[in-house]
């Protein structure tokens, strides 16, 4: 698989480390009433879809940026690559 890095261009997936579902960006609020339940779901439960999947890849052997890659889990086709920083800010995180 080739990941089209937004800053560096096309890079071999072997340069990256895979973390998992990009929903991991949305860390629950530890102050919330049901924080234990929310953290259990955040830490352990996954949608694991067959089809389009947004996921976090870390460019360990490159510029060490985190990327949000949209990839089809049935075909391995990559349809979108964004910097995770931009995506996290868009979702309301401060960094």
């Amino acid at each position: 698989m080739i990941i089209n890095h937004p800053l560096l261009g096309p890079r071999d997936a072997a340069e990256f480390v895979y973390l998992g579902d990009a929903a991991l960006i949305d860390r629950p609020d530890p102050e919330a009433e049901n924080a234990d339940e929310q953290f259990y779901e955040y830490g352990y439960l996954r949608d694991n879809p067959a089809g389009a999947h947004q996921e976090l890849w870390y460019h360990e052997q490159g510029d060490r940026s985190w990327l949000v890659v949209t990839r089809d889990t049935l075909t391995h086709e990559i349809t979108g690559v964004k910097l995770a920083r931009d995506e996290a800010k868009k979702r309301g995180r401060n960094k």
Binding site: G20, D21, R46, N48, E55, L74, H76
Partner: protein, 416 residues
């Protein structure tokens, strides 16, 4: 028909005209006591033990494709019970004991071959860890035997003992480990279940569950609605997809594991050998091909094929312990989709929906577990209590903090 040497002789003398299909191809009835979703190794063994040991008769196995079209035919056929954790090791030892009597039990030649498994170690700390593992194995009633370098040099002279980076210092033998002809396991269980009256229905995809007021009353399928008192899902590799039909999210990611086979060679490897400093395991099939594999690819996927970086990694692992295979040509490679769970261990449990049961999360250790998985799942379905060796394999263990993490990697499925 009971298979025997006499039957072969009789059929041989009468032109082999008396062999019959080994299972029926029935249409589904309107209602069953138990519907098992998934006609792979685990589903068929569940049906077999449910009908044979637990005496239930009105059972159907629904399979989306053909029997054994999933991982039962895609693994590297290794059986062993060299785990360590208390929640795991007694279960896998129970499984190995079932393997030992399986062919007589279901009267089918599954080519169970206890040709031994050897886990190599490459350093003193690793030796200590293997001694600890061996003790845990012996405590569960399994066999374990430590071999030093001198013994291995005599028995397996082709190993690269003096490798500069990963010298071989010895290994942990389990002599009762070995290999089994995997397709025959599915066929043997299917034949056995069918002979006890189980309806095995192929090309029947489950498209939904009928759930009313928190009770599962049956399934929707490509052959219409089928009612059931209990529905037992057993579809490792597709668990998240199927359980999402019941509105459940699971502690599972789907990953692909690749496997490889070379051209046929003269007898070379006496048993299964694994590399201790990377991930590589190899055995030689009865046809002569070296059958081997390594790590999963490491990203979510439902495609039954992987990518080249892992092919390279596996080949490097092989070359690190037995450079003699460098000139061997690869015949085939393939991939199977694994349920990778959050702690690397499986589930055999009820769900929060009454009448709906779940078996999955086998990571890449499902094949060796086939007999015990079916036996314990059947026990759960018949009695509504877990089998004594499967009490820890619960769906809520992460919430309770009682994980079974053999490798100590935490909730990162691609590292297990």
């Amino acid at each position: 028909m009971r298979y025997s040497a006499f039957e072969i002789l009789k059929q041989g003398l009468s032109g082999n005209k008396g062999w019959k299909p080994v299972w029926r191809e029935p249409e589904p009835k309107a209602e069953y006591d138990v519907i098992i979703v998934g006609g792979g190794g685990h589903g068929l063994s569940t049906a077999y033990y449910l009908s044979k040991v637990y005496g239930m008769r009105n059972i159907a196995v629904l399979e989306k494709g053909w029997l054994g079209s999933g991982n039962i035919g895609r693994n590297t056929t290794i059986i062993r019970s060299n785990y360590m954790m208390p929640g795991n090791q007694p279960f896998y030892e129970f499984s190995l004991k079932l393997w030992e009597g399986l062919e007589q039990d279901f009267n089918y030649n599954a080519m169970v071959s206890q040709r031994s498994i050897l886990n190599l170690f490459h350093s003193d700390p690793q030796r200590d860890a293997f001694v600890r593992r061996a003790n845990a194995m012996i405590l569960s009633g399994a066999d374990a035997e430590l071999a030093d370098e001198a013994q291995l040099r005599r028995e397996l002279p082709f190993l690269d003992f003096d490798n500069a980076r990963f010298p071989i210092k010895g290994g942990l033998y389990q002599r009762r480990g070995g290999t089994v002809r995997h397709d025959a396991v599915a066929w043997g269980y299917a034949r056995g279940a069918d002979s006890h009256g189980v309806d095995i229905i192929q090309n029947c995809e489950v498209t939904g569950f009928d759930i009313e007021n928190g009770v599962c009353t049956g399934v929707q399928s490509s052959k219409g609605r089928i009612r059931a008192k209990k529905v037992a899902v057993c579809v490792a590799g597709s668990s998240s997809r199927v359980m999402s039909l019941a509105g459940m999210r699971l502690p599972i990611e789907s990953h692909v594991l690749q496997a490889f086979v070379t051209e046929g060679l003269k007898p070379t490897l006496p048993g299964v050998i694994t590399f201790g400093a990377g991930h590589f395991y190899v055995s030689q099939s009865d046809k002569g091909g070296l059958v081997f594999g390594g790590d999963i690819d490491g990203y979510n996927t439902y495609a039954q094929r992987g990518n080249l970086p892992v092919v390279e990694d596996v080949a490097e692992g092989g070359m690190a312990i037995m450079p003699m295979i460098g000139r061997t040509r690869l015949l085939r490679s393939w991939g199977g989709v694994m349920d990778m769970s959050m702690d690397g261990s499986p589930f055999i449990d009820k769900t929060h929906i009454e009448g709906l049961y779940f078996n999955g999360g086998w990571c890449y250790g499902g094949f060796k577990a086939t007999p015990a998985s079916g036996y314990c799942y059947a026990h759960l379905l018949a009695n509504d209590t877990p089998h004594p060796v499967a009490t820890e394999m619960r769906l809520d263990r992460f919430k309770r903090g009682h994980i079974i993490d053999e490798k100590g990697q935490g909730n990162q499925p691609n590292l297990h």
